[in-house]
Amino acid sequence: MFNDLSRMGKYLGQAARMLVGMPDYDTYVEHMQSKHPDQPVMSYEDFFRERQDARYGGGKGRPVRCC
């Protein structure tokens, strides 16, 4: 049961972070390790900054939100 709860918590946390456009860090690490084992993996702090800049820092059509 505690396993279920912790999975649920992780899932909700992921959903809440995605609400503000922050993708899951574990997924990123997993992806880097399985697909690009030769490349460096960003720490969570760097990942967070990179994503925040990417979401708000501009580039075409960013940040996008509705009225």
Partner: protein, 685 residues
Amino acid sequence: MNRLVTHLAWLALALLGATALGVVALRRGEAINALWIVVAATAIYLVAYRYYSLFIATRVMQLDPLRATPAVLNNDGLDFVPTNQHVLFGHHFAAIAGAGPLVGPVLAAQMGYLPGTLWLIAGVVLAGAVQDFLVLCISTRRNARSLGDMVREEMGRIPGTIALFGCFLIMVIILAVLALIVVKALAHSPWGMFTVIATIPIAMFMGLYMRYIRPGRIGEISLIGIVLLLASIWLGGAISTDPYWSEVFTFSGVQITWMLIGYGFVAAVLPVWLILAPRDYLSTFLKIGTIVALAIGIVILNPDLKMPAVTQFIDGSGPVWKGALFPFLFITIACGAVSGFHALIASGTTPKLLANETQARYIGYGGMLMESMVAIMAMVAAAVIEPGVYFAMNSPPAIVGADAASVAAAVSNWGFAITPEALEGVARDIGETTILARAGGAPTLAVGIAQILHQVLPSAGSMAFWYHFAILFEALFILTAVDAGTRAGRFMLQDLLGSFVPALRRTDSWGANMLATAGCVMLWGYLLYQGVVDPLGGINTLWPLFGISNQMLAGIALMLCCVVLIKMKRQRYVWVTLLPAAWLLICTTVASLIKLFDPNPAVGFLALANKYAVALDAGQVLAPAKDLGQMQNVIMNAYTNAGLSVLFLVVVFSILFYALKVGRAAWIVEERTDKETPFQAIPGA
């Protein structure tokens, strides 16, 4: 056999929806319960989702579960990530739901709750959700390209540039109208003003914390931020009763306008992690929380609707905004039924996260249904307050007068009995000195939300707390939109100007950035200023312009969908997008032409300019202008607005011209001519 049983269950749900809608539409003379509207909408949305969106998914678009999406093909763990569909649903919904679906229905309530509710339900099922869904599908099959890129690719370079220009115009108007809502809500309200100003240091603290103290801890700092916000609402209450400090935080509309313009410029050039990102976190979590609380409140209380089903103002003589039911109701409701802006989100961000293209149905169609549900709740919140209070808050002083006695007399005269004491009582309850001339929808909605939440959690003074909570929550995401929109507008402007002066396109150049930011702020600042000083209330002029532009963008997105369907040789289903596109084009064109040429100066921009120009020549000053300078202002504004209307018409008709041209050429060709990326199967499937 099993299938039959399921279909019968859905039939029963459809009948339930139809019955509830029948009660909403046909019962007259006695107050109906809000729950009827909620049940009608929910049942119809579920049935539409089950059948119509499935039809679009399987027959029209032929979505293929084996086809790899951009998220799968380009997976980088950052921009492109196959995401759980429920998590993505939340992300998409948070991106599309803003102030629009909340404010539009409140303004539309001046015609009674029925016309608006019917259009919300019909519009979302047949137009709004279809647009979001199809744009998401075609963008997913084009490597998550943006709307502008897709128009360019499928229809040509010129219509692509025109569409980009249209998007920019719409952005400017949205920023102006959203900022105007904030100004209307905060003018002469020290409590509201204090809490909104307090969000700036709170956001900066959060930003510094996330950057340096405990980097990336979104959850804990958002909680701290929300606690600080609630504390600032409490402190604001104390300030509003203090004679010295309430004076310090009392500002006129014009002062707040200049602050907002200054803020817009500064905030758009500050680093994003300092204010924009943390406040976006706050506003997103508060938004979702408030929407959930409102839904629970409505279900628990199931309040009676006090607004009549239909008021006498369907003839176009309403005080909140002028214009008859057709076409202006469809313009005013805007986002809750169909919103062109969603096409910008459904192309670009969301498709990069879609794990499987069949999920586009749930995200695109379902997400928009959810947004419409929010609009339905806003309509309920506006209809549960006394109609007398509603009209007293939303009518401009030029029509009803400026003090409680004359406003109460004027509103009672329309048949919505209210006493001056009752108006002052409501103002006292919500901790304000006045509720008069608070047009713009946000304060009205805040009163509705406050009434509902106050009854769920009754305590002394909680009305005032919830009112300012609701104002803060709206101001928060409007300010985020102003900040983010100015940045986005800056890039659009640089892109547009870059077509003529390539040096301006360089987003790393400090000078080009400053120039484009200033240009963008000046454009919306100008519209905002004229809206604030407009004696007729500003919302009167700006909201229809916003509605027209937003619906026109939806028209452009739907025309693109039509062209793509024809090019895919799915043309026998083109009616799915052709009908809503045609309806939107008719509504917006008729509305623009009326706004331009109507002989009634309260409606037509040119007639207004003409009336004031004639008077000016004769040396007269027409109320509500007070001197010859204000007369000049009125004329100038009327011409600006007329110019904007003409620009919208030009944009939409040039896109229509290209859509017809490209669509016709593609219709007679035997084979597919669309630019879909070739099929690639999901690896390992």
